[in-house]
Subunit: 115 residues, 2 copies
DNA sequence: CCAATACTTAAGTGAATGCTTAACAATCAG
DNA sequence: CTGATTGTTAAGCATTCACTTAAGTATTGG
């Protein structure tokens, strides 16, 4: 859990690109070869390999090569880290709103409705 | 819910920067002025204003100016959209693993444990 | 062996990012 | 009015990004 700072940078950066999100989306339906990931994308294989490198260094995807085929799969742990960062902020925000609600409810009606 | 594609691009892109995440983090504890957001960050006010612009066009933050002070607050709806994208991928992945588990459990033991 | 398949790597390019400085505008306090 | 706050905006600059083309390197099927 060290260096969570730069790790999140890389994960969110990786998810910021639609091609990379499409690749992640494909991989949630099961492992795939590089050219399978490339097929629906309107770019060269070379570009896809570079996107894959971004996904791998972010930790979102891992892959191994057997023969001439590299098979990729997602790493759900990394996905969960990103999810949790967001979920925690949202939780803090919502607790804050709850406390604010209680406070307002406990206040006497200060009806200063004249100019 | 239109154009969810580019919207997610912007949200994840916004979250990919540590200064911007720090600003979001600060705002989850309540609204703040621009110079309050700037104080802990080691950069000029100008840079902070530019980060704020990124956060606002992504929809993560909204702000209004009264007098000479601009007050910023987070927009939890946008945060939730990003969270849901991730949560959905993770859900699909986990359902997949469940089905795979059931399949393996239903298989006869193929104990080919000799060389 | 030979040619297709499945990547891999390097170099280059134009556009986007993350800053900075500097000059400016609009309050507000005394 | 005058100066200190609080931001805003433009310009410039170095770096990073998202590609492309081009030239490889294994593997594999026949």
């Amino acid at each position: 859990m060290l260096n969570n700072q730069g790790a999140l940078d890389q994960v969110f950066q990786a998810l910021a690109d639609p091609a990379r999100r499409a690749m992640v989306e494909r991989l949630t339906r099961g492992p795939a070869a590089v050219s399978e990931l490339a097929r629906p994308l309107d770019m060269t294989l070379s570009a896809v390999v570079q996107h894959l490198a971004v996904l791998e260094t972010s930790g979102l995807v891992r892959s191994e090569k057997v023969g001439r085929v590299r098979t990729c799969r997602i790493e759900p742990k990394t996905l969960r880290n990103a999810e949790q960062w967001i979920a925690q902020r949202r939780a803090i925000w919502e607790r804050r709103l709850d406390r604010l609600g209680e406070y307002l409810a406990s206040q006497p009606e200060d009806d200063t409705s004249k100019e």
